[in-house]
C-alpha cells in the first residue's frame, strides 16, 4: 500500500487541543495571521483603488507621462510589480518565521504518534 490515509486517532482530540493551546502553536498562528490578513487588506485596497480610478477617473488616468505612456498604464504595470513584491515578501517571511515553528510542531506530533 502506498497511499497513506491521514491518521485521525493518534494523537487524540485532547492532544490536538493541547497542541492548539501551546505557546508555540499560538505564536505560529499569530505570526501567520499578522502577516496574511493585513497584506490581503493592503493588496485588495490597492487593486480596488486601481479599478476605481480606471473606471471613474478617466481624465487622470489618461494623463500622458512619457511619450504615449499614460498614468493608467503605469498604474496597471505597478499592479504587476506589487504582486511580485508581495509574493517575494511572503515567501521570505514564511521561510524565516513560519516554517521553522511549523516543522517543529509537526515533528513533535508525528513523533508522538509513532
Amino acid at each position: 500500500m502506498s497511499t497513506t490515509e491521514p491518521s485521525t486517532h493518534p494523537p487524540g482530540p485532547e492532544t490536538w487541543a493541547e497542541v492548539h493551546a501551546s505557546a508555540e502553536f499560538q505564536q505560529l498562528r499569530k505570526r501567520l495571521r499578522n502577516f496574511v490578513f493585513p497584506m490581503t487588506v493592503l493588496f485588495l485596497a490597492w487593486y480596488l483603488l486601481y479599478v476605481v480610478l480606471a473606471d471613474y477617473a478617466h481624465g487622470f488616468m489618461s494623463t500622458k507621462v512619457v511619450g504615449n505612456i499614460n498614468i493608467g498604464l503605469i498604474f496597471g504595470l505597478l499592479q504587476f510589480v506589487s504582486t511580485f513584491v508581495i509574493t517575494w515578501l511572503y515567501v521570505r517571511y514564511a521561510n524565516r518565521k513560519l516554517d521553522p515553528i511549523a516543522d517543529k510542531i509537526r515533528e513533535d506530533i508525528e513523533g508522538d504518534a509513532q
Binding site: Y47, A54, M61, N70, L73, F80, T83, T87, E110
Partner: protein, 535 residues
C-alpha cells in the same frame, strides 16, 4: 484545398493541422508513459502527490492561461484597448489570495477536492454534495468558455465554415481530451499542461519580442502606432473605451474587477492542483512559479494586444471570423506568415485541450470522490478502483457535454464566459473556503447557505442579466427578460454569499470549535497531511 484555406487569408489549414497533430502525438506518448504508474485513487486524482513546486507551478500556469487569456485578452486589448488590460491585472492579482490565504492550508487539510476541506469538520454528506454541485457548476461555465473558443478557432484557423465540419473538429478535440484524462489521470494531464504552458509562453514571448522589435523595442512607439491605426484620438490608450459608456457599464467594470480578483482561489481545477505536490511548502513554491509565469505572460499579451491593433488593425480583427478572439492568430500571421500562424494555432488548440482536460479531471474527481464515494456509498466503496472507475465514466460524460456545449456556444467572447465562471467561483466557493479555514464558529449550515445561496444568486442574476437576453450581443437575441442591469453579477453575489455564510452559521446551533482546533493545527503545521506516493 481552397475551401480549407479560407479561414485566414494566406493561412494554410493543412499546416495548422499538422503542427497541432504533432503536439497531440508527442503529448499522447507522454501521457501513456505517465499512465504506467497510475494505480490508486491518489495516483489518478493527485498524480501520487509527486510533482515538484516548479513543475506544478508550470502546470498551474498551463491550466490557468486558457484560451480566454490568450485569445480573449489579446483580442479585448486589440479592440477595446486599455479596458482589456483589466482582465490580465485581475487574473494576476487574484493569485495573491491563493498564495496568502488558501494554497498551503488547503493542501494540508484535504485529499483531492474542495469537499474534503469542508468535510473535515462538518457533516460529510450535505457539504460534499454542495461542494460537488458548485464544482460542477463552475467547471461547466469554464468548459463552455473553452469550447466556445474551440468553435471560433476552427472557423478561423481551419477555414471550416460549415456547421457539420466544425462539429466534427470539436468532437475530435473532445475525444483527444477524454483519452488524456482516461489514460493519464492527473499525472498525464499535468504533463500535457506543462508542455502546453512552455509552448504558449515561449510562443507569446517570441511574438512579443518580434512586435517590440518592429517599434525599436519602444513600448511608447508601439502604443502610438496602435492608437494611430485606430483613428489617432488615443481612445485605445485611455480607460473607458468599453466600460466608460454609461453609469451602468462603469458599475459592470467594478463588478468584473471584483469577480476576477476573488474568483481564482475558488476555481476547483486550480484548488485541485495544490494536491499534486508532496507538501505545503511545495504548494507555496507552485504558486510562486505560477505567479511569475502568469505575470510575464500577461505582460506579453499587453504587447500582443496593442501589436495586433497596430499591425492588423482593430476593424480587421472585429470583422474576422472569430471576432476579437482572432487578434493573436492574425498578428502571428502578419508577423511570421503561415508557419507562425500554424504554430500559434496549434498552441491555441493545445491550450483548449489542456484546460478542458484539467477541468474534466476536476469535475470527475469531485463527482466520484464526493458524490459517489461519500454521499451515495457513504464512504464504503468496496475498493478504491471502483471510485476511480466512476471517475473515468464521469470524465466521458463530461467530455460529451463539453463537445455538445462547444458546438452550441460558438461566437461568445471567451474572456466574458470565463468571467462568469469566476463570478460563480468567487461567490459559491471562496466564502465557504475562507470561512472554513479561518472562522472557528463556521458550521454545516453556514457552508450550505454560502454554497447554495451564492450559486443560486449568481446563476439567477446571470440568467436575468443583459448577457443572456435583451441586447444585440446577448446569448439570446430577440427576447428580453432581463431585469438585472449588470453583465457580471459579482458586485452583488459575492457580498450576498459572504453574508449568507455568516447568517446560516449563526442561525444554526451546531458548534464545531473543537474540530476546528484540530483542523487549524493540521492546516498550519502539515501534521498528518497526505504524503506523496512512493513508487
Amino acid at each position: 484545398m481552397t475551401t480549407l484555406a479560407q479561414g485566414v487569408e494566406g493561412g494554410n489549414a493543412l499546416l495548422n493541422i499538422s503542427i497541432f497533430g504533432l503536439f497531440v502525438i508527442v503529448t499522447m506518448v507522454v501521457v501513456f508513459r505517465a499512465s504506467r504508474n497510475t494505480k490508486t485513487a491518489s495516483d489518478y486524482y493527485a498524480a501520487g502527490r509527486s510533482f515538484s513546486g516548479p513543475q506544478n507551478g508550470t502546470a498551474i500556469a498551463g491550466d490557468y492561461l486558457s484560451a480566454a487569456s490568450f485569445l480573449g485578452i489579446a483580442g479585448a486589448i486589440a479592440v477595446y484597448g486599455y479596458d482589456g488590460f483589466l482582465y490580465s491585472i485581475g487574473f494576476l492579482v487574484a493569485w495573491l489570495v491563493a498564495l496568502l490565504l488558501v494554497a498551503e492550508l488547503l493542501r494540508n487539510t484535504g485529499k483531492f477536492t474542495m469537499g474534503d476541506v469542508l468535510a473535515f469538520r462538518m457533516r460529510q454528506t450535505p457539504v460534499r454534495a454542495a461542494a460537488a454541485t458548485s464544482t460542477l457548476a463552475v467547471s461547466f461555465f469554464y468548459l463552455l468558455a473553452q469550447m466556445a473558443g474551440a468553435g471560433g478557432l476552427v472557423s478561423l484557423l481551419l477555414g471550416i465554415e460549415a456547421d457539420a465540419g466544425q462539429a466534427v473538429v470539436i468532437a475530435v478535440v473532445g475525444v483527444v481530451m477524454i483519452i488524456y484524462v482516461l489514460v493519464g489521470g492527473m499525472k498525464g494531464t499535468t504533463w500535457v499542461q506543462i508542455i502546453k504552458a512552455a509552448l504558449l509562453i515561449a510562443g507569446a514571448f517570441a511574438m512579443t519580442v518580434w512586435v517590440l522589435g518592429r517599434y525599436g523595442l519602444n513600448l511608447s512607439e508601439l502604443l502610438g502606432a496602435a492608437s494611430e491605426r485606430a483613428g489617432g484620438n488615443d481612445a485605445l490608450l485611455n480607460p473607458g473605451e468599453r466600460y466608460g459608456v454609461s453609469g451602468t457599464s462603469q458599475l459592470d467594470f467594478l463588478s468584473l474587477g471584483i469577480a476576477l480578483v476573488l474568483g481564482t482561489a475558488g476555481l476547483p481545477h486550480v484548488l485541485m492542483r495544490f494536491y499534486t505536490v508532496p507538501t505545503a511548502k511545495e504548494a507555496r513554491r507552485s504558486v510562486v512559479w505560477a505567479i511569475v509565469l502568469i505575470g510575464l505572460f500577461y505582460l506579453f499579451t499587453l504587447v500582443l494586444g496593442y501589436g495586433a491593433a497596430a499591425i492588423v488593425g482593430s476593424d480587421t480583427i472585429s470583422n474576422a471570423p472569430g471576432g476579437e478572439n482572432s487578434a493573436a492568430p492574425l498578428l502571428a500571421q502578419a508577423l511570421g506568415g503561415p508557419v507562425l500562424l500554424g504554430f500559434i494555432a496549434a498552441v491555441a488548440f493545445a491550450t483548449i485541450l489542456a484546460v478542458v482536460a484539467g477541468l474534466t479531471i476536476t469535475a470527475s474527481a469531485s463527482f466520484a470522490h464526493d458524490v459517489y464515494a461519500n454521499v451515495i456509498k457513504k464512504g464504503k466503496v468496496d475498493s478504491k478502483n471502483t471510485e476511480v472507475r466512476v471517475a473515468r465514466i464521469t470524465a466521458c460524460v463530461i467530455g460529451a457535454v463539453a463537445i455538445i456545449g462547444g458546438i452550441l456556444a460558438k461566437d461568445q467572447n471567451v474572456a466574458f464566459l470565463v468571467a462568469l465562471a469566476f463570478a460563480v467561483a468567487a461567490s459559491a466557493n471562496l466564502p465557504t473556503i475562507l470561512y472554513s479555514l479561518f472562522w472557528k464558529r463556521f458550521n454545516t449550515s453556514g457552508a450550505l447557505w454560502s454554497i447554495y445561496g451564492g450559486l443560486t444568486v449568481t446563476v439567477v442574476l446571470i440568467i436575468f442579466s443583459p448577457a443572456v437576453s435583451g441586447t444585440e450581443k446577448s446569448m439570446f437575441t430577440g427576447v428580453d427578460f432581463h431585469w438585472f442591469p449588470l453583465q457580471n453579477p459579482g458586485l452583488v453575489s459575492i457580498p450576498v454569499s459572504f453574508f449568507l455564510g455568516w447568517l446560516g452559521t449563526v442561525l444554526s446551533k451546531e458548534h464545531l470549535e473543537d474540530k476546528h482546533k484540530e483542523m487549524e493545527v493540521r492546516a498550519l503545521t502539515g501534521a498528518g497531511a497526505e504524503k506523496a506516493t512512493s513508487h
